[in-house]
Amino acid sequence: MAAEPGLQELRELVAEFQPGRGHVLPALHKVQHTYGWVPRAAIEVIARQLNTTPALIYGAVTFYSDFRTHPPAKYEVAWCCGPACRLRGGEAIREAIQEELGIGLDEQTPDHRFGLHVGQCNGTCHEAPQIWVNGRVRGNLTPESARDLIRSLRDGE
């Protein structure tokens, strides 16, 4: 598990952002881009930098589904929940992956190698049903090929 960054480091990271300029989301993006997640300490540092309350920053972090409050797994699997994927058997893909990994949505395996979460349609519906592994589309899946994909990642590529 990644260690939480120090306060000074966080302060320097968000020093460019200013109050009242719409900088809440850009600051959170920069933190998550740097560490892969938004550590608790960052919420207070951003609040101070933007002259607002930690509650407001925390409110934003929890409102938007793409901010993580815990470190990402080595393989973040996003399961596309869009209509084309669902019509083409997406539910069975989710069930196969959940069974293969032994975890549910928004969970990680105990060894932090795999995380599973819902992904919103990115308009590559020609590849339905699909998942994205660390942002890369793996499409035209069947339950079997989805299991094989997870196994090949787990067995070390």
Binding site: L87, Q120, N122, G123, T124, H126, G135, V137
Partner: protein, 578 residues
Amino acid sequence: MNARLQKLIADAKAAWQAEQASGRVRIRVTLDTSSIARGAEETLARLRDAAASRKIDADVGITGSWGFCWMEPCVSVRSAAGTHAVLYGNVTPDRVDELIDAIAAGRDLPSLALGVIEGNATPDIPLLEDHPFMKGQVRRLMANLGRTDPENIDHYLAHGGYEGFGKALEMDAEAIVKEVLDSGLGGRGGGGFPTGRKWDFLRNATASPRYLICNADEGDPGAWVNRILMEGDPHLIIEGMLIAALASHADEGYIYIRYEYPLAFERMKKAVAQAYEKGLLGKDILGTGKNFELIVFLGAGAYVCGEETGLINSIDGYRGMPRIKPPFPAQAGLWNKPTNVNNVESYANAPLILRNGAQWWSSVSDAKEKGTKMFTFSGHVKQAGCIEIPFGPKVRTLLEQYAGGLSGDLPLKGFQPGGPLSGVLPASDIDLTLTLDPYRERGMFLGSGGVVFFDQSACIVDLCLFFLGFCEDESCGRCTTCHGGTQRAVEILRRIAAGGGRDADLDNFEKLIGTLVWSNCLHGQFAMTSIKTSLKTFRDEYVEHIVDKVCRAGVCKGLMPGRWARRAAPQPAAAAAD
């Protein structure tokens, strides 16, 4: 026209012509999210390797989407003499060597060819414009896609880019608004409100500064027209916003892009930086004394930020919860200052209107809605892709001609015109046109252009469970009618799907339909649309689920599979249920 702009355009045209006359084979690979999902990065790398190792003497570059998303990666190859060019599809990494061999030998590769894009047809390869997918399309917004490099502002300038802005610079704000009003351009995000009137509201606002926002939070699952435009021709949107800024005296603009579109975000940022570099954005634009700052803003995963006031709160740094209107954004929007919000496609049309005139722009469509409209289509179809067509095609045309028909052997069950809030219609409505009125009359709406088709293997209860589950997840939580109502709807649908349907459930749905319309924003008001519309046309199927405990599609696991469940694994109960 502004002398500095004239010089930019002349230089860009000269550079483009020099590039065309290089005497080398010219290869352009479509590089967007759709093609990357099908291996375009590797295809591009292999072609570049072949060019570097001199196996082929070629200039290899990137371009935007042709709309053939299901056949990506698409690659166009133009002969060294510049007289003959062919578009190829399905050039996946495992087939790119065939193409490299053909180019090296100086011949075409008919097995992968989609059509000839420059020069005459050959005995083996017809013209691309004769391809069934291209027939009937009118590519105006998409004119540069497949032809220019979206990351190169000079390519845009060499193809009429910023000419509309140049014309607008010589007009006063009122005249620009009039031109856009005359064109009949309506908002492309689904509302259809006249874009010119929106600009006029901002023009007449008294406070300053004033803000323009481009809503690129294309959250409707199954819609990707804005992504195609941003990834394929980002300057079209910048130019549209510049024209809007002149028309409404705006000082600053934001392009709000959803988090799921990282490539669109990068391309848009790059394009904005190039526009600043050329003096098209910032202070004293092209020496005219006019200022306009443009910021590309990344969302973070919230569907409801597609609602304009939710989007404004999101830029503000708050949770993206829609505000109560009035005040409308034109009075008090971003930081409580006058603000105008338009969809990507709405802004993108402005350069075409200014460059070619309102008359030219609107003459293309016979429908009440003017101009062209982009659509994407997906679901149980053979071809999931993107088209641009004069407003008003029939749904049937979309399905049969452009989507290539249904992918399976089951009959069509229905379709969704655009997004999870837009509702579902049965196959018998396939001859409706894709215009605003037919859907308004049915208490639904057209949406932003992502049509989803489904065949008889889809279960209406399951589909509504998906749509309502989406609405529940994405409810901002402000109104009890919405966040509580969608929860109740999902609970009832889940119970029906699990075999616990009760006689009262259909009445309960009616109650929820009557309740959710009291929500503050469109999200809550339209969350029940899929249930409302399907209760009318698919009522039998609900009754089967609730009374007979049969799911005719065999999707709901708590029920006996019915007559369309033949593709599901055979179950002992199947025969009895049918």
